[in-house]
Amino acid sequence: MNKGWLLVREQLRKKPIRFLPGIVFNLVGTLFLFLTFCVGLREFLPRIDDIGITEIVFPGIIAAISVIVAYAVAVFDSGRFVQDRQLVDQVGIAGLLPSEIYLGKTIEYWLAGMTHAILSGIFVLVFTGFAIPFSSILSLWLFTAVGLVLVTQIGLILGACVADSKIHVLTISCLLMPLMLMSGFLVPMHSLHGAFWSVFAYFPTALIVDGARSLAVYGDFDYLSLIYLVILDGAAIWICRHFYVRKLVR
């Protein structure tokens, strides 16, 4: 028998519960993608006509790139760092406390995302021939900076607690990508139906993109969204720090 098949068989022998996250992510991802491009459930009507102005796309591009980079770096690096004990122990023997490691890693991942936000902001400025005011890009970076804290926390804790890198990839392809598309990145949030709008408007990715867009494009400072995002950041830091530190001292 081909040895490759034996490998496949060993994978299939795993407990059915291990396949569950994959199925859930696929379901959620497909639903989000569907709702991004279609008006609503059971209504297979494209919503592309709803886009009225072209400027709305640029905050989405910057936010999407930075969020995906920050999350991907966090989830993969955290997975490698914590699951493969040699790296975390190397830092540990150098006298760093688990809480210090947590802080260092959070900053590292946040910086990775923020660097990409700054870079793509500059590139968008260049590509548009400096048609966008620099103040718009600055306001976008403000929302991105706050939102990335939450994104890095989710990536950091998922990488630290879930050893399977397949799950890490799944969260990016089937959850984060659709969430970004669902955030108003392509389609303005207000073009969604009432019920969807009221739910998805409170998703962190939507808050980053829509909040940033309000300020950057329309000049409206959405204080409430920013406060809500800061509260989410605080809650995420509190929970993730607790579990991350516990994971390191086990």
Partner: protein, 307 residues
């Protein structure tokens, strides 16, 4: 003597299974403390707890009279901990790994270079230090980890299987270093290389299923163990004349002739000293003996306790 490390009723369990169960002990400052036991006895867990890398579920841990958890930030700087697995980034070069550790330890650059170069020269790691550890042999990876731990010249050394994978040269260098640090540093060492560590360890514990089954000196171990004394004489060539001459000596229970080596099982030193009188030293390459068979002692101890 002042205690460097004190454990009071320390317990640690994983999924309801106790890795350490209610351990209480003190390690004196400047002493060498050997932790032995079979695989899975709890040695590595104990050393991880002592290094403050792992928090116990119950009990108190004091390092230099400072309670942990609570004072790790202060305590960690005085501890050099070498786990039983690798502690380097395989995709950084050996030198970059050392540099990273030194920066985290806040060792000044010039001081780091001086210490690192000295240690690298001692362990003869110069030829691969600027390559990534993925291409290192197992022994060289271990040497790199040892150098990382010694970079800070810590006051307390906690070493988990430090000789694992080392060649004879590196084993000698480390052994000599540990002997030179006797009385200066507190050393806690877990190793199966009994013949090496018995030369400098002054207190031993035997762990089994997370509990201390023996705590004492080598002398106490020797007095408790009922295993024979074994002496080895390596001749330049097979020596039948000598074998004939030692037959019938009192206290000798068995003579094993193995090519150039004669292995003598005796009741104690007295029997072996009678043998020594019969040896023509011109025909001998080396003479050795194993006064305390620590492995035998552990086996006997555990079997006496019904394991």
């Amino acid at each position: 003597m002042e205690a460097s490390i004190t454990l009071k009723n320390i317990s640690k369990h994983f999924d309801k299974k106790y890795a350490l169960s209610n351990l209480t002990l003190g390690v004196e400052k400047g002493s060498v403390f050997a932790v032995t036991g079979r695989s899975g006895a709890g040695k590595s867990t104990l050393l991880r707890v002592l290094s403050t890398m792992m928090t116990p579920d119950e009990g108190l841990l004091f390092i230099n009279e400072k309670e942990c958890p609570g004072n790790e930030a202060e305590v960690k700087r005085s501890i050099g901990y070498l786990p039983d697995h690798d502690i380097h980034d395989p995709w950084l070069t050996g030198w970059e790994n050392l540099q990273q550790t030194a920066r985290l330890l806040e060792i000044p650059e010039d001081e780091f270079e001086r210490r690192a170069k000295l240690l690298i020269a001692d362990y003869q790691l110069e030829d691969v230090i600027h390559e990534c550890p993925v291409v290192y042999s197992k022994g060289k990876k271990r040497i790199l980890d040892i150098i990382q731990v010694l970079l800070n010249d810590p006051e307390i050394l906690i070493l988990d299987e430090p000789f694992q994978g080392l060649d004879y040269y590196a084993t000698n260098v480390l052994n000599n270093y540990l002997i030179s640090q006797y009385g200066k540093k507190t050393i806690v060492i877990a190793s199966h290389e009994f013949s090496v560590i018995q030369t400098f360890a002054d207190r031993w514990i035997v762990l089994h299923q997370g509990k201390i089954r023996f705590d004492g000196t080598l002398e106490k171990m020797a007095s408790q163990v009922d295993v024979p004394f074994i002496g080895y004489i390596l001749f330049k060539q097979p020596n039948g004349e000598f074998l004939e001459s030692i037959k019938g000596i009192e206290g000798i229970t068995e003579i094993r002739n193995r090519q150039n080596t004669v292995e003598i099982v005796a009741d104690g030193f007295d029997g072996f000293s009678q043998i020594m009188k019969k040896i023509d030293f011109d025909t001998v390459i080396s003479i050795g003996c194993n006064a305390v068979r620590i492995d035998e002692f552990i086996n006997q101890l555990l079997s006496d306790e019904g394991f």
